[in-house]
Point group: C2
Chain length 611, copies 2
């Protein structure tokens, strides 16, 4: 029951941070002056470009109070700005002191452009080369040059010099991923990486993305919330033993010995020393996560840094048999929790007595009942009525809203189980939905089905499929402003590259990749709709006369889609069949695993359309 | 009648060129040695990266005998290679002496990669900076650096030193485009360009793409086949008069005076001198067409070259009212010629007495009968049976094939009229098509209709629409290996950027753009199918509740689509309606303009499906 459970993995803290911004900005300006600088760039980033940051890396929040998951600040002598994207416009407005910072649009007026327009000729602008990729630093350098200013890499971040109560870096314990879940040993993975390095004519690769470190060494950690990452680097030479750079405090003896079987464990500060030895060598760096400091370090010591995609990214995205079996099992387990949640919600919501937070806590408790929940895979997005229209809504005690009759309720959540990561969104009608809601929901559903049933040749990218999710909305002059799908890790990041289904998804979809399918529709200040399942890329049956190998998707997620929101008249026969057969499969898979009441609820919820 | 007409705008010459390759390569190697070089890169390019080259610029063909429209060669001391793409594999095989040149795949093993693998450390490789964009030169430079070699810009192309009978550059007469066709004056266009330069913070722009020069000055020329271009450069300063760099011999007094009203006419060799004066100025260069020599020249003289898209490219692609009216008129005129051609073909082809060349000549003669044909817009592709499967087939006396019973016949052609440029492909059944042919044709048609009827929000790119043309083929394990559509000029290039409907078409489609819609299917050594119409991007009617401006297409091309090849059972009701209403419009628009026999033929060819 929701009033008796409490969420362990999610906090509902207010977004207001009571940051003493004035004092901090004044102190930063004094520190910059001391160093002979006219400005400093503060990205929301750590040394590995992680999406989830440990508290020790939240420099942007420390300085500005802004806690969104993307952004940057620039502090000049006389002015300062915070850059946030459209998702965070409202949050930025409430968190940022506008007497100290102008709020700028991260995409439409990005830091580079702002620098070009605001720098004086001759200005000296500092940046911390550990917190920017080389591409990012290069963009800033060009902008400074356009304004006749100079961009200067700093030794030591000026904020760290001022941040006296800065938390220590995390030292979460590292565990080994069991072979039955990992499906491939470290030796085999390392050999595959080394074969790629041979093709790329690189002498070694720096593995700077902790997701790739986790995959390569079959290790999981506890350094950031919701994703079992350990913050560590690795170097894979073209031949010989890889080295893992990690705080020894994170490894118990068993784990340490297991890793030492395949790799050399080194202290984090030895990374710089080791890279400095690689004179004359071609060193591959991950364009997306490697710090500019690494590029500079290698070049300064006579090595040849070459930037590109880390070959591990693609290998990791193609799941092996064990990972696929694990994901199927995880989705069945998660489907049970979702069925229990949806049945509970259908019973409780119409009473008007439950809130968004109640729903979040109930869902987490149903997942915990499995006994296997390691964490939620991200803070649950539970938006009723107008809150549903906020794409990245996180409920707080302040924003928490009672779920009202005739609301739409959007809930986007996921679980971390040792065998797999889940991510699911359902939109539920409380009371009687309007005709417009049913029209919008059905258009979103048509898009979801178009993706789920797509058949496409090998080498097709996610970008080529994205519009299939939109045409039913486009015809009504509607759309949604996010991608259709992202890659998902195997007991790893819920957002995993390199493939995605979006305008920007240029990577070819391969058999074994797991991606989300989550078209939506958002009516500002009214309601939101999103329908999300995870899918596995599989071979499609080859019709007679086929000339090219073709692929399609297997839907992994098992939970009913709210039939009350479907306007059956808007569906083609094929679309109706898809819904009915999906529901039949959900019912068949989950039925044996449910208590009697939930089973009855599920049978009703998965009836054929029109029944 | 075909036997009495002759094509004036197309030649059917054999592709075999009798080039004395051995002597030329030997001479080039001697010349390189004399200059202290170990190799030289020969792109198929002129100083403006034109698609159609004048004879004086055909250095690749002079050296290698290869006459395809894309390619490059590299000559080293001990080896040499020609790089061609998949379209030209067969042609390259017949034209290139493989004892002199290895044939490499332009995309899969491009020159950069080949250089990395074949250069010796310390090698000095020359390139002509006038024939490469800066991006291309940069790619070669990196490849040379990887191999420890050096890329050296040359003063004077070594081939020009050897090519004793090199034709003079063309001096085709320039004409003014009449205001009723151009629709906007030079002053207005120049002001719009200057406003963009202000936004881009550029002091001036070098207009290096002759298509953009033609648009800006409302001039047309006769320097290359099939496209009314004059090879000329321009400089547009942020304020003041533009300068046009052109051979005075191309201008009669009337044209010269007309241009001098808005611009200063300068001799071609004054471009270099004038650019050298722009010390301290920010000069915008067109990334796609500006020679690396321009970048170097500006930088060497203390200016700041900034590479990006020429703002004219986008302006030119959005047609104004006069250009749209002109295109509609041109398509009506072209539709008459197409109807006469198709009627003639239906009568003649079953006799077995006509050939591909007869068809090309007949179609050109029907177009010439309009009295307004300026040129064909490209060499007609007329492929019967297996020749239809060669996407860029050009019939020669040697390849010419009699059109046989039960062939499919693919004809892709276009016209240059003063009011507009056309481009149309039809696939015609001779005798009885097989079930497979009808299945493939109908799938291609479904893709064509999906594009023609697409409704999409403002800012949607061609890349987002491309897959709509393919899903019906994908479902059968089929696809086609070219883009779905390209931009088309207004009495200008039949391939016009920057928008296109293809995986690579990242530019947003805007109202007023004209694009082709040409999905296809090719069964090697058997037959080819392609259905191509030109379309205009227009506003779509806004449904109630629409939240975003939406666009759709108006089909401009007017010619029946072969009903005998349509398997009506495979079409949805909406698709059948589209064909029927398209055919009704074709019939209604062309009927009053036709002779009696063609009129009767057209009535039958445009009957409703199932009638």
């Amino acid at each position: 029951m929701p009033s008796m459970v409490e969420a362990r993995f999610q906090s509902f803290d207010d977004l207001h941070t009571h940051t003493p911004v004035l004092a901090r900005v004044v102190a930063l300006r004094a520190e910059l002056k001391r160093r002979g600088l006219d400005g400093f760039v503060v990205p929301r980033a750590d040394r590995q470009q992680n999406e989830c940051l440990p508290a020790s890396e939240e420099r942007l929040a420390w300085l500005t109070g802004f806690t969104g998951s993307a952004g940057a600040a620039i502090v000049l002598t006389e002015r300062a700005a915070v850059f946030v994207d459209g998702r965070y416009a409202v949050q930025a407005d409430s968190q940022i002191d506008k007497s100290m910072f102008a709020i700028e649009h991260l995409i439409e007026n990005p830091p580079q452009q702002w620098l070009e327009q605001n720098l004086k000729s001759g200005a000296r602008i500092g940046y911390d080369p550990w917190l920017h990729t080389s591409d990012s630093a290069e963009g800033l350098r060009k902008a400074c040059a356009t304004a006749g200013a100079e961009l200067i890499p700093l030794d030591g971040n000026p904020i760290d010099a001022l941040w006296t109560d800065r938390p220590a870096p995390p030292t979460g314990a590292v565990s080994l991923r069991a072979p039955e879940f990992a499906g491939e040993g470290v030796t085999s993975k390392a050999l595959r990486v080394q074969a790629e390095l041979g093709k790329l004519r690189a002498d070694a690769s720096v593995v700077s993305d902790p997701q790739n470190v986790a995959w390569l060494f079959n290790i999981r950690g506890a350094d950031v919330p919701h994703t079992p990452l350990t913050l560590a680097f690795a170097i894979v030479p073209r031949e010989g033993r890889p080295a893992l750079y990690i705080d020894r405090a994170k490894l118990d003896n068993k784990v340490w010995h297991a890793i030492e079987e395949f790799a050399t464990v080194r202290a984090p500060n030895e990374l710089v020393r080791d890279l400095a030895q690689l004179k004359g060598k071609t060193i591959r760096l991950d364009q997306a996560s490697a710090a500019d400091a690494l590029t500079r370090l290698i070049a300064d010591n006579g090595g040849r840094p070459v930037s590109g995609s880390d070959p591990i990214a693609l290998m990791k995205s193609v799941k092996n048999y064990a990972e696929i079996a694990g994901s199927r099992a995880a989705h069945k387990r998660d489907g049970v929790a979702m069925a229990r949640f949806l049945a509970w919600f259908d019973a409780e919501a119409p009473t008007g007595r439950i809130t968004e937070i109640d729903a979040v806590e109930a869902l987490e408790s149903f997942r915990r009942d499995s006994g296997l929940l390691k964490d939620i895979s991200f803070p649950t997005i539970a938006g009723s009525g107008p809150n549903g229209a906020i794409v990245h809504y996180r409920v707080t005690r302040a924003s928490n809203r009672a779920i009202a009759k005739d609301d739409l309720f959007l809930i986007d959540s996921g679980a971390q189980y040792e065998d797999g990561t889940t991510d699911i969104t359902r939109t539920i009608a409380v009371g009687k939905p309007t005709e417009e809601m049913r029209d919008r929901f059905t258009r979103v559903l048509k898009g979801h089905i178009a993706i789920a049933t797509a058949i496409f040749p090998e080498k097709t990218s996610g970008a080529q499929l994205d519009s299939l999710a939109r045409t039913a909305l486009w015809q009504a002059g509607l759309d949604f402003d996010h991608g259709t799908g992202h890659g998902v890790g195997s007991y790893l990041s819920v957002h995993e590259g390199p493939a995605r289904i979006s305008k920007l998804g240029t990577v070819a979809l391969r058999r074994g990749m797991i991606l989300s399918n989550e078209p939506g529709y958002y009516k500002t200040a009214a309601y939101g709709v999103r329908i999300e399942n995870l899918m596995l890329v599989i071979a499609a049956p080859e019709p007679a006369g086929a000339e090219r190998p073709i692929n399609t998707f297997e839907t992994l997620t098992l939970a009913p889609i709210d039939r009350r929101l479907i306007d059956t008249r808007m569906l083609t026969a094929k679309q109706r069949n898809w819904i009915d057969s999906y529901h039949a499969r959900v019912q068949e898979m989950l039925d044996p695993l449910l208590d009697k009441a939930t089973r009855a609820w599920l049978r009703a919820a998965t009836k054929a359309l029109g029944d």
